[in-house]
Symmetry: C2
Subunit: 234 residues, 2 copies
DNA sequence: CAGTGGTCTAGACCACCAG
DNA sequence: TGGTGGTCTAGACCACTGC
């Protein structure tokens, strides 16, 4: 099957290749034509084909190796792109009103599990912050966070009742490495009270830790109100 | 500050720009030099700079607009890449033994909520499948799935006791659109029994629906055993 | 309208790795 | 060790959009 019209931009090449995969003209495991051949067939430069195939490989549809050529992925590892915005933007993006309350801010040494997470000593100087994020006045997410004062000294001067620690850190403490995990937990008595729900409700939990180089910056535990769903397209 | 050595490949340009962002030489909101200028400063072609900046924009570190130039993102939307492999590979990848049991496979018309999800009529011909995935012999995930027979007729001939519906679909039914959501639920009595746990345990739930064009293919509900954590790097 | 990023091209050399 | 993808270059034109 040859194309009658020329595909001279990488997006149309991308789409055409995807079409051939979807129609099973090229099946999982099949080797597809080399870049030079495809470029010739489609009537464009090799660089254009390269761009298209590179994107498809990044999306998980193709496996590419030098010398071995390009093959249709046998197990298309689906890559869901989770956009993780600042909470405020997540809420405002849905057209709801965002409010925020600082519940606690104290300077103290961290408990053992935080030390383990961040790789800091148990006598380090840290800020312990808990806060509640609300959407249209209703509890949305309860945040408990530890911030290393050594790593980001300026945070002790920040007015965390005006701007959430989350948001302050995004603006002032870039990180080089981060880690995030998602799970389900039962609401503790305290969490239930704060989120104005009942004990033993199933809650969605996000745990996040970030480092700058080898220095642990912050570790946060985000517990969402019942009914929360994280959602994305494939 | 100028570089003494020339950065002639896009990765080093990428890293250098990222360094300037991290060191706050370029702060959130700042406009950074235009491609031509950067290319000149670093001693490489504009295409190389373009490639580096394009990747950084895709990673969420930069905002780029024609005519307006390139700025450091004020709210670096963090993009976590969730790799969603076939369950079997997820388990085997951790060095555990994967087993799989087909619990039910029946051909019948779908309940209303599935119709709504997939956009099919309530009298459509569908396959209803439930199965259990185990890691090292322990229940790992309980899967309940509806598959449109109209969209993928070949599935009725597949031996779903040997290969999971999940995996069969990946190989034989490419999709063009997909949707995935994550949440926390309480174990129902049935789910608790199957996962060999207790009622009212908090469970991690993934709901996934896929389409080919406008045709709904399959809708699945994946309930994970207690303690499951989905995990990724930022 | 003019400046900036977005893309294409033709050609070249390099790096990796399967045979 | 040769074939394939990975990348760089210089130059060109285009598309969007702020002024």
């Amino acid at each position: 099957m040859s194309t009658t019209t020329e595909l001279t931009n990488w997006q149309s090449v991308h789409d055409e290749v995807l079409r051939r995969i979807h129609t099973r003209e090229w099946k999982p495991g099949d080797q597809i034509p080399k870049e030079v051949e495809l470029a010739e067939e489609l009537g464009c430069a090799r660089a254009t084909v390269n761009r298209a195939l590179r994107e498809l490989a990044a999306e998980g549809f193709l496996d590419r190796r030098r010398k071995a050529g390009t093959r249709v992925a046998t197990h298309p590892v689906r890559r869901a792109r989770l956009d993780i915005p600042v909470i405020r933007l997540e809420i405002e993006g849905r057209g709801q009103k965002y409010t925020y309350g600082l519940l606690l801010s104290e300077r103290r040494s961290p408990p053992p599990e935080i030390c383990a997470n961040l790789g800091v000593t148990s006598d380090s100087d840290m800020l312990h912050i808990t806060s509640l994020h609300l959407a249209d006045g209703k509890p949305y997410m309860f945040e408990e966070r530890w911030v290393s004062v050594a790593a980001t000294p300026e945070i002790v001067d920040a007015d965390l009742s005006k701007i959430s620690a989350n948001e302050w850190l995004v603006l002032h403490a870039p990180y080089t490495k981060g880690d995030i995990s998602f799970s389900a937990v039962l609401a503790s008595e305290n969490e239930a009270k704060i989120l104005r729900t009942q004990k033993n409700e199933p809650l969605f939990l996000i745990e996040r830790t970030t480092w700058e180089g080898e220095k642990g910056i912050t570790s946060a535990r985000l517990v969402f109100a019942p009914g929360y769903r994280m959602h994305t397209a494939l």
